[in-house]
Point group: C2
Amino acid sequence: MTKTRLDAATVVNAAAELLNREGPEALTLGRLATMLGVQTPSLYNHVDGLSGLRRELARLNAQRLAEELTEAAIGKSGVEALTALAQAFRAYIKTNPGLYLANVRASASQPPVDERLQAAEERIVRIVTAVIESFGLKGDDALHAARAWRSAVHGFASLEVSGGFGLALDCDESFRRLLEVMIHGLQAASSKAENT
Amino acid sequence: MTKTRLDAATVVNAAAELLNREGPEALTLGRLATMLGVQTPSLYNHVDGLSGLRRELARLNAQRLAEELTEAAIGKSGVEALTALAQAFRAYIKTNPGLYLANVRASASQPPVDERLQAAEERIVRIVTAVIESFGLKGDDALHAARAWRSAVHGFASLEVSGGFGLALDCDESFRRLLEVMIHGLQAASSKAENT
DNA sequence: TGACAAAACGAATATGATTAGCTAAAATGC
DNA sequence: GCATTTTAGCTAATCATATTCGTTTTGTCA
């Protein structure tokens, strides 16, 4: 077991783990360096400071999520695909709460978005839209519906992991019902779109 | 116009404004002190450091939101109330993006929650639940439906202000359709609950 | 007016991010 | 295999920010 040298991926993965385990306050270059058995300035050989690290984390988050969603959707369509996608989405956020929530920020500020981040985000949109289309919606109807579906699932899981649901009411049951509501509503939207 | 002395409310309001205007990075005690024409340590007379300030901001956010929702729901019921509530919720987040998003964190960590924060959060849950009940749902059915509704609206507005909707597709129209989907789905859930 | 309490201040300290310059190890080219 | 070049890592120094302390100023009110 020889001590291998650090690389960017190792640094970013360790940062993601720290973020998930101890939350945003804990993500400090010092902590990260200790975790990796190295001095703080050495991290600058692999990431562009704290803000560069945050950019990498945003990319990692989008790529991991796209990965999970892709896998969940393979070989399914219609209601089955929509349900599988929703469950994968929620499971991802529960596994990566810190990483996921760290990337929900009031943005519209950094126009030069990372290329790989943008690619992964487009991939996510494409997967969701494709599944929605397998549901009978096309064009802008599908895009609006994809936004609705994503809002519901993202919103539920965000509130869940951030403790927004105070009450002692079963979250699994709530999620099941949310999906029922969305599927009913989308089916109605789908019928309506056909009569046009 | 004599120079009035500072108080806690002024400090917290200024912090909220800074957060909304320039985002979480910009919220620093130094910036805040400059903004208020005072030296940094003076702020400690009014708030308990940066983490105390963040607690106050969480409370302010919940109270402002509860306020807006209450006002929007007055004198309405059923679909009309649900729609008004959703629009008020979205409008609130668009007006207070920094303040709102700063309080979506992976928590479940600080058990000694501020009393006024908790009161305001309960108030929000009560308003939403009451409106859902005016829709024909009772007991746990109403609570699950309230979670669903809140997930959808919170999710939509969060994604909207954080730039999560990349495409150049009208957000107002997407929101209108999201509400249609939710209302359809909740009506279906309501009919189903009646046959029990 | 005089005493008390609250607010503000300057100075000092601690932590964390960042930069610079140096060294040693690893990769590369011959 | 050896010389050159690149790269990772280090120490030391600097900067920004949060926080504490003791003191001074400023309002309040008896």
